[in-house]
């Protein structure tokens, strides 16, 4: 299944399994994006979700709470998002595939534990159904304004992987993929919905379990004594994992640590660990590119978009083409790591890149950084609450095409 395919890590194939049929609701469904995320998580093998209610994400945990007793696993509604974002990490070290689900204000509360997950290399999936902000903002209306928060919102240097579905079908597909990426790379993986994608109801095809690729945790085959909890090699920067109770007696800490997981508060250890953790993603970013392109080659103008905005942009692009404009579309399915190299290539031929997004200028900054003046970059900010008007994007395309 194309949508679920993971971006490969060396030596991964032997750990790729078929989905456990118990969690797979094979068939054709008419459900919203939030419900599709839940089904994607169950299909991917997620058996532990800790949540805290927050609009517009709550339907995901409501469905999970209803479904998990028949599948075998745990849903627990915690007392706040701080607890939810930490409970999943305990559960990951207890051996489960885990997810938490939130929206803006909850995401802000979870930021410390985003850093903990990165620092301790805890595989986990974070779903953010974006709403208008800052603060309580617009609880029931869309935005795409958390894109920089997930990239930079925890203190210190870190990296995440972020996927941006634009339909309920992609909510299913990309949730499976998010779990696979989390296991493959052992970083927090974000699924960045928005209120519209979360609440939009469309056809969702859930395939048979045997065609859904699921990446198993990278369990060690070493014995206690020879295993180091953060042992890596230059060829493979992702450490093997164990679960508590298997006799390895590991130590895991958010402090700067060595290969044994022991605190090591020296500049040397900080440099070694910090470098390995960020380079795990940065030096493999070329494996983590997923841009869906349409008519980019030979286009005068390229619209770079993601999530719900890409669907509005699609209508504008069609209208512009009908008027003779040579316009292409580049939709970011993986938003982080940002596909800077491909943006630079596009900038070499396009006269302009237009970046519509439901925020007052976030991913456009990444596009500007990547192309470094090689072409004109036009941001189309929108404060959220609704999606763009098609005409706004159309006008920008026509203006830039002249």
């Amino acid at each position: 299944m194309e949508g679920c395919r993971i971006a490969g890590r060396p030596g991964l194939t032997e750990d790729t399994l078929q989905a456990d049929p118990r969690g797979v609701l094979t068939g054709v469904h008419f459900i919203d994006g939030d419900h599709a995320v839940c089904e994607g998580a169950l299909a991917a093998g997620c058996r532990f979700v800790a949540g805290y209610p927050i609009t517009p994400s709550t339907e995901i945990v409501e469905r999970f709470a209803a479904r998990i007793p028949q599948v075998g696993g745990i849903f627990i509604q915690m007392e706040d998002e701080l607890a939810a974002s930490m409970a999943i990490q305990g559960a990951a070290w207890g051996g489960r595939k885990v997810m938490n689900v939130t929206s803006g204000p909850g995401l802000s509360l979870m930021m410390e534990h985003l850093g903990y997950a990165f620092m301790t290399e805890t595989p986990c999936v974070w779903v953010d159904v974006q709403r208008g902000g800052p603060s309580t903002g617009l609880p029931t209306a869309p935005a795409q304004a958390d894109m920089m928060q997930i990239r930079w919102g925890s203190h210190g240097d870190f990296e995440v992987i972020a996927l941006a579905p634009h339909s309920p079908q992609e909510c299913f597909d990309l949730t499976v993929r998010a779990f696979n990426l989390a296991e493959a790379w052992r970083v927090p993986v974000f699924l960045m919905l928005d209120e519209v994608v979360g609440h939009m109801t469309e056809r969702v095809d859930i395939p048979a379990a045997e065609v859904i690729e699921v990446v198993e945790r990278k369990w060690t085959r070493k014995r206690p004594g020879e295993y180091k909890v953060y042992g890596t090699t230059p060829e493979d920067p992702v450490p093997e994992m164990i679960k508590a109770g298997d006799g390895y007696r590991v130590h895991v800490t958010g402090l700067t640590h060595d290969e044994k997981g022991y605190p090591d508060l020296t500049p040397g250890a900080q440099a070694r660990l910090g470098r390995r953790l960020v380079d795990k993603i940065r030096t493999h970013a070329d494996r983590l590119v997923d841009i869906r392109e349409d008519g980019v080659e030979g286009a005068d103008v390229v619209v770079v978009s993601f999530g719900i905005t890409s669907r509005v942009a699609h209508a504008a692009i069609e209208a512009a083409r009908a008027r003779g404009a040579k316009v292409g579309s580049a939709r970011l399915v993986i938003a982080w790591p940002f596909p800077a190299a491909r943006m630079r290539e596009i900038a070499r031929t396009a006269k302009a890149i237009i970046v519509p997004e439901l925020n007052l200028g976030q991913m456009v900054l990444e596009v500007e950084r990547a192309v470094a003046g090689a072409t004109r970059v036009i941001g189309l900010p929108h404060a959220g609450g609704t999606v763009h008007e098609v005409e706004t994007i159309l006008d920008a395309i026509l203006e830039a095409s002249r």
Binding site: I76, M78, H251
Partner: protein, 298 residues
């Protein structure tokens, strides 16, 4: 007098200590100050582990942040040093994901009752199957002696430079009121009783809360002219009254006043997972997939 000096090589010192088998010896020396009581509680915990009969491969320890928060790093168990205040949520996830584990939360009064206070209340309410050891030294040690929710009214702390005018938590009462099934308080003077309480806690199913009063000679004692660690242990000895089964409402602490110690609560209540399994079995019948087999395979 030289024959009185211990001339054994340093590596031999204390090698007969029964606690060593439970410690990560490659992490010693520890960071705790001379006269600090945390190490004494860890000695008691090691004894309790040995006496409990538990398979130590199946015991995990989770700490938050602070002086006591370093405990997890010294125990030769699966050990997790988490974030400030969040040891209980992490432990909740760990326990529910892997129900065959015995999960112990070992942290300080600030970590568990200030920043983590909400989690303490809710884990007790749910009767989550965790043993929580709260080492209460009445202050924030690692950050230099600030006022804590447990600081009695009166003494000086760096952020209460004119004396503390707030009222402290009565932690056993809090844990009791929230639903803990086992609540005890001892001091580091009461090493046998503390070790026994920890052993009972390890063997108890459900939310266990053990408060261990412990001196902080470097900050709390020195700033308030209470002498050194030994002076504090003498105070614990002289002013403690053992009252097992005491009403937890009556066991609040005052500055250098009387200390009620003992096992206050020991009762039975279904754990969160027991309640979940029995409820779902009842309402969902055959369609329910029971969770929590002892082999850890859900």
């Amino acid at each position: 007098m030289s024959q009185d000096l211990d001339t054994r090589p340093e590596a031999d010192l204390g090698m007969d200590n029964e606690a060593l088998a439970f410690l990560r010896q490659d992490r010693i020396p520890h960071i705790w100050c001379p006269g600090c009581g945390i190490g004494t509680t860890v000695n008691c915990f090691c004894r309790a582990l040995g006496d409990s009969g538990l398979d130590l491969d199946r015991v995990a320890i989770v700490s938050g942040i602070g002086c006591t928060g370093r405990t997890a790093g010294y125990l030769n168990l699966d050990s997790f040093h988490t974030t400030h205040g969040r040891a209980i949520p992490f432990a909740t996830g760990l326990k529910l994901a892997n129900p065959g584990l015995k999960v112990v939360v070992y942290s300080g009064d600030g970590d568990l009752s200030a920043i983590g206070g909400n989690h303490l209340m809710h884990a007790a309410r749910r009767n989550m199957d965790l043993m929580v050891v709260c080492v209460n030294n009445f202050t924030y040690g690692m950050t230099g002696g600030q006022v804590a929710p447990t600081t009695p009214t009166g003494p000086t702390q760096t952020t209460m430079p004119y004396g503390n005018f707030e009222s402290p938590f009565n932690l056993p009462f809090l844990a009791d009121a929230c639903g803990a099934v086992y609540v005890a308080r001892w001091t580091v003077y009461h090493v046998r009783q503390l070790a026994k309480a920890m052993r009972e806690g390890l063997q108890k199913k459900g939310f266990v809360f053990i408060e261990a009063l412990s001196p902080c000679p470097t900050l709390y004692s020195r700033r308030n002219r209470l002498g050194d660690g030994v002076d504090q242990v003498k105070y614990y000895k002289e002013r403690s009254q053992v009252r097992n089964g005491a009403d937890t409402k009556e066991v609040g602490l005052t500055f250098q006043g009387d200390i009620v110690v003992g096992k206050f609560v020991d009762r039975e209540r279904p754990t969160w997972m027991e309640a979940m399994n029995s409820h779902f079995s009842k309402v969902l019948g055959e369609t329910f997939h029971p969770y929590g087999a002892p082999d850890g395979k859900d």
